[in-house]
């Protein structure tokens, strides 16, 4: 099986996700970048699951998908909350507390 391609793809996705998280100002974009990272993980898990011939990888991936959904829901809720209070979802502007 061509494991490496999948792993490289996953690594690329993961890095993209990281870049997105660190670089995008828009909170929603950041959330999406995180989804990218999680999906990179899913690819990894599926690949390894197949490699080792076990379903654990797929199970794990399913759980991640489910949890990610919940997470995004919460995340969006918080983003909305902020938008409501500030009419702005630029994460860079959130620095009331520091030092």
């Amino acid at each position: 099986m061509l494991v490496n391609q999948f792993l490289l793809l996953s690594a690329f996705l993961f890095c993209t996700g990281v870049y997105g998280v660190l670089a995008r100002r828009n909170a929603v974009m950041v959330l999406m970048s995180i989804e990218l990272m999680l999906n990179a993980v899913n690819i990894n898990l599926l690949t390894f699951g197949v490699l080792h011939g076990t379903v654990s990888g797929q199970v794990f991936a399913l759980f991640i998908i489910a949890v990610a959904a919940a997470e995004v829901a919460v995340g969006l809720a918080i983003v909305l909350l902020i938008y409501r209070n500030r009419s702005n979802i630029d994460v860079d502007d959130l620095d009331l507390m520091k030092g």
């Binding site: 995180i34 990272m37 990894n44 699951g49 011939g53 379903v55 991640i64 919940a70 994460v91 507390m97």
Partner: protein, 496 residues
């Protein structure tokens, strides 16, 4: 893939072993239901129900403890042993105290009260679960279960800009760290082919080929939990979130959530990664030294008490991380040190937050300077705070000294140079730490009340109960350290 593999067989379920989680789940569900049915009318009973529910959850924990036998389910993915029970009890009691702290705060503020307790219980369920998880998936689920409600709770003060900010920061950092951790888990799964810790341990022990991948995997996973326990440099969220969140939640995050992170680390380091101490030990050495030093140095400059406690929590986390640095060389003492530290830390830190809550009610301020003259108008609170500060600083007879002692003991037990050097670093930090705890003491005892305002502080019954509980526990642990230390003595659990 053969179909036989996919054929579902209901695994044997030991209901007794599962009872604490089930009870907690039931209580949580009931609370949610009541909220749905009775809505606002239920506000008054919610905290009481939550508290009772937590205490009820303690019952199966106790029966399991009395029973004494180690139980294992789902091919070893869920384990109930002494340590798991001890930690579950710790989480539950911490949760109970947090509920006590919350009652007035949540009632008096502009908060959704019913959901608050449901979410709190949900988060606690995650914690209780994490204590038993011996499997990557279980652990992940449990972790998310405790985290996601916590994100919401952090942002619970919906109208407050700081609370919003805290929520978002916590959320983003948490999810980001989770993603990194998951990536690490996937790598480890890739090498070992299993999600179960025992299998991972065996696989890592023998899997010499893919060493870099294992190392990377371990690193990523540990970083994920390093975030949870706010180890430097993954701590940056903590001060902001602590400051912004509602104070009872801050207490909850600082104690229960952090403890959960440590519990996970315990399982991972001593079970899953116990074949790779060559990676784990230096990693934690660096983390521990950095965490305590940076935490302390930053705490020195703080003027806000919550923020100071946040950094103090970071530094305390550093002390708790230190025994991991000798995880392989002095396994038993290290586990003992960490667990004992967790127990004592929970009480002293919760206590400190209880005082903060009580004082803030009068002063409406989080500044350390607002504690000026506290001793003159609220001697009880001042003495209690003194006990907690002394405990955090590790001054006998308040409990903290036992925790530090055990950390030192573990580090020296390793009889290695690294261990000894880290012990000295801990010693220096213990001294450094006192200087900012002393700042609070100084304000309380040695300064005059601002504006000569010496009207007494009214402390509600629940808060008094919480204070009494924590003061008593903190002192008892200090005078009879065996009380706490025996719960940390799990030499049998990890005799692998």
């Amino acid at each position: 893939m053969e179909l036989a593999m996919l054929a579902f067989e209901r695994p044997a379920i030991d209901w007794h072993a599962f009872a604490p989680e089930l009870v907690l789940l039931a209580v949580g569900s009931i609370l949610t239901l009541i909220d749905i049915v009775y809505n606002e009318r239920a506000r008054r009973v919610m905290p009481a129900l939550a508290a009772v529910g937590l205490l009820a959850t303690l019952v199966p924990v106790l029966t399991l403890a009395v029973d004494g036998a180690d139980r294992s389910m789902f091919d070893g993915a869920f384990v109930v042993d002494d340590m798991a029970l001890t930690l579950k009890a710790l989480f539950l009691i911490s949760g109970f105290v947090v509920v006590l702290l919350s009652v007035d705060y949540i009632r008096d503020g502009d908060y959704h009260e019913n959901e608050y307790y449901s979410l709190l219980l949900a988060s606690l369920l995650g914690m209780v679960l994490i204590a038993s998880s011996r499997d990557l998936i279980t652990m992940f689920i449990a972790l998310e279960l405790l985290s996601i409600p916590a994100y919401m709770l952090a942002a619970w003060r919906k109208g407050g800009a700081t609370s919003n900010e805290a929520g978002l920061k916590y959320y983003l950092m948490g999810v980001f760290a989770s993603a990194i951790m998951l990536y690490g888990m996937s790598l480890i799964f890739g090498v070992s082919g299993s999600t179960q810790f025992d299998a991972i341990r065996v696989a890592l022990d023998t899997g010499g080929d893919s060493a870099p991948m294992v190392t990377l995997g371990i690193l990523f996973v540990l970083v994920g939990f390093g975030f949870k326990v706010s180890a430097v440099p993954f701590h940056t969220w903590a001060p902001d979130v602590y400051e912004g969140s509602p104070t009872p939640i801050t207490a909850f995050l600082a104690v229960a959530a952090k403890a959960a992170g440590f519990v996970a680390l315990l399982q991972l380091v001593f079970v899953a990664f116990s074949g790779r101490y060559d990676v784990v030990e230096p990693f934690f050495w660096i983390m521990a030294a950095l965490t305590m030093t940076v935490g302390n140095l930053m705490a020195l400059r703080q003027t806000n008490i919550v923020r100071m406690l946040a950094y103090s929590g970071v530094a305390q986390g550093g002390f708790m991380l230190a025994p991991f640095a000798v995880a392989g060389q002095a396994t038993d003492s290290a586990i003992q040190a960490i667990v004992t530290y967790l127990i004592i830390y929970a009480f002293m830190n919760l206590g400190a937050f209880a005082v903060v809550l009580a004082v803030a009610k009068k002063t409406r301020s989080g500044e350390i300077s607002s504690y000026a003259g506290l001793f003159s108008y609220a001697p009880g609170l001042a003495v209690a705070m003194t006990v907690f500060m002394a405990a955090l600083a590790g001054i006998p007879p308040a409990g903290g000294w036992v925790a530090k002692l055990l950390v030192w003991r573990a580090l020296l037990d390793a009889s290695s140079v690294q261990g000894t050097v880290l012990a000295v670093v801990v010693a220096f930090n213990a001294v450094l730490a006192f200087s900012y705890y002393a700042k609070v003491l100084r304000e309380m005892w040695m300064s005059d009340a601002p504006d000569g305002d010496t009207s007494p502080v009214s402390v509600s019954g629940t808060l008094t109960l919480a204070l009494g509980l924590t003061v008593l526990a903190t002192l008892a642990f200090g005078v009879f350290p065996q009380l706490a230390a025996r719960f940390g003595d799990f030499s049998a659990s990890f005799a692998l």
